[in-house]
């Protein structure tokens, strides 16, 4: 035994043994993209970032000064900020969701909301029902549980294949939950039809399987009429995940859940284990930004801006992409999902796009829960982060590459 203090380990190359699931874990494609697309001069359609020029900077400067000067609890540990819960109830009412403060749970962003729900619902090696294409951040949430993922197709015009869900549940699948995005799907962009909303909620009720409804884009709708989220149709089997990241700012990491009241005490235990409480200062800043109809003006402004960017991208795609490329213009959210003919490999295309054209996007396979059903011919294009000029320029450059790839593909 050596009683002399030494900094260097006696076995500097040895590493602690990790839990089995963690041994091969590495950065997600989205994280790699974040690095690649963060270089100056790259036009990035990769990440799902809101437009920074639309952030409420002046409002936050005022709110920070006000909160710090007037609210002595803003810097201490503390329980959820009650006025914010009440504002969430009002916000949900705008989406035709009836709920009460006792059903609202404040989280460190929507990602934490999903992570906490999964913690409560999923056993190690438990079963999960998702679409074949999902938000990779949700895959990261479930990965440590080494789950059995059963997946169903997603239609680019109508959303999740509810007949397949029905059939799986009828055959006794019994997943711990169904994960779904009802409006402005990430990555596919689609919003569920009303018939599918009703049917999905009915299935959840009938089989007593909760739906985790991830709704970061629900407030960003660009059509004439918008459907309410699944939570509007059922208050017992739909666990709603809400986010301020896309409508205010992602920096403050504040989101919310709307769940049956009996889950709240259990959520508060897993929440405390995760990070004690949600930033008490940030909760108060968000609450200030939600005051006095400011949020209505803001939502209206965001819808106008993002609708214009969506339309710009739609037109640029029509002008620059070949006829064989297919997409459906989304009525919510941040993304176009473009399907190229089979055989075109969008991962290879991305390497070229970054190198030759300095344009970034995310290849479809990054979203696939089943590598064999790959979506290797698809790409997700974000239209919220770049201004219309950059969108036109970037899509034109990307269109060139896609045409080349298609020609090569036909020749091959």
């Amino acid at each position: 035994m050596n009683e002399t203090p030494t900094l260097a380990s006696t076995h500097p190359t040895e590493a602690a043994s990790l839990a089995s699931w963690a041994q091969n874990v590495k950065r997600s494609p989205l994280q790699e993209m974040l690095f690649a697309a963060a270089k100056p001069g790259i036009i990035s359609f990769a990440m799902g970032l809101p437009a920074p020029e639309l952030f409420p900077v002046e409002e936050l400067i005022r709110a920070s000064g006000h909160v710090l000067a007037n609210d002595s609890r803003a810097l201490q540990y503390g329980p959820p900020f009650q006025p914010l819960k009440s504002q969430v109830v009002e916000l949900m009412a705008k989406r035709k969701v009836a709920c009460c403060e006792e059903q609202v749970f404040i989280t460190t962003g929507a990602q934490q909301g999903m992570s906490l729900l999964v913690r409560l619902l999923l056993e190690p090696r438990g079963r999960v029902l998702t679409e074949q294409l999902i938000y990779p951040g949700f895959q990261q949430v479930i990965e440590p549980y080494e789950p059995e993922v059963i997946s169903v197709a997603i239609d680019a015009r109508t959303g999740i294949d509810v007949a397949a869900v029905a059939s799986l549940l009828a055959s006794g699948a019994q997943p711990a939950f169904i994960y779904a995005i009802s409006s402005g799907h990430n990555p596919v962009g689609v919003s569920l039809t009303e018939a599918k909303r009703l049917r999905l909620v009915d299935l959840a009720r009938q089989y007593r399987i909760p739906i985790i409804e991830d709704d970061p884009y629900g407030f960003l709708d660009y059509g004439r009429e918008t459907l309410p989220p699944l939570r509007a149709y059922d208050d017992q089997w739909v666990f709603y995940v809400g986010s301020f990241s896309k409508i205010l700012t992602p920096a403050l990491r504040v989101g919310w859940l709307v769940v049956p009241e009996n889950l709240i005490p259990k959520l508060s235990v897993v929440k405390e284990a995760s990070d004690i409480d949600t930033n008490t200062f940030a909760q108060r800043l968000i609450s200030r930004l939600l005051e006095q109809e400011e949020i209505d003006r803001r939502l209206s402004m965001l819808r106008d801006e993002y609708r214009a960017r969506r339309d710009t991208m739609a037109q640029a795609l029509r002008e620059s992409f070949p006829m064989a490329a297919k997409w459906v213009t989304p009525d919510h959210g941040f993304f176009f999902w473009v399907e190229l003919p089979h055989g075109v490999d969008t991962l290879g295309l991305l390497a070229k796009a970054l190198e030759k054209e300095r344009v970034a996007f995310i290849p479809g396979q990054a979203f696939s829960v089943d590598p064999s059903s790959g979506a290797t011919n698809c790409m997700r294009l974000n239209f919220s982060h770049s201004n219309p000029n950059l969108i036109r320029e970037g899509i034109a450059r990307l269109g060139e590459l896609v045409r080349e790839a298609l020609n090569r593909n036909i020749v091959d």
Copy 2:
């Protein structure tokens, strides 16, 4: 099948089935205390709260304005703020820890740091080595894994029983990690002797078992000389968890880890799954508060203030508590650990203290990993949150009750 939208579930009293560990989960004793002690008029020695009158309010008002007006990335999703990592390296150097930015990982508070490390290290039903008395928030972190907890005694003067650790490891215990607080232990208040620090680190190396070193109070030392944390003695087997909550403000939820560099990519995956990134605005505010020797002035001010409160509580205990009550004056942190004669039940005492004397503390059993070894005759008293007058008043009231309980105990 019902195609009519209805809000009420058809089975309103039924609830989703939860993962087995979660079925009986409920609020922790600390959470219950938070409610009980938050009532007006209660003198609370319960929670581990920093003194709100010492928060850097003016500094944060200036920092908020500055950051929002000058840093356009402060409101967007983003990677860890590099200047903050560099400041953490400087801060660690003050504790005689040599580390580099590549070993620093920014977290949403120290609690998240522990939660992420456990996620990487612990298998479901895996084994964990702790002291018999630990921070309940760490129990909450490991609870979902349904772990086998093997525990060793803790001595109020010297800290963790390293001979017992050695014996367990020698007999092949192979825990996933050892959880330890080296300075200002929560709840016991003790700081490890140098010999124990050296021995514990040697054991970790010898048996290749990482130590999760939880160090929220390490910068708050009140003695003439202070020992460096375990991380100063080994950079491979000690995973250090740091916190700004006690030295700046807990509201912003920013903490850090110092770990071997190879763990950082894996941590960034579990971090992204938990809450995407750490509040980018909060990271920049913390960074401003750490600038220009402000932190040295601040640490010095906090040490003086908290030392005075500690001394006030020590004197009040000597004056008001019976001779049979034992404690060791802590040289770090926020807590006195008071041991009463066996047979005195501090849980019952708390009920009376709240009702009759309007004083709160936390009964020892809330910290016990093994209910049978209970610490039912002990209490944790926080001295950081109440000002000296309240400390004198509260300890006097509590002393009355303790004397009564002792007399009853002798009579029984």
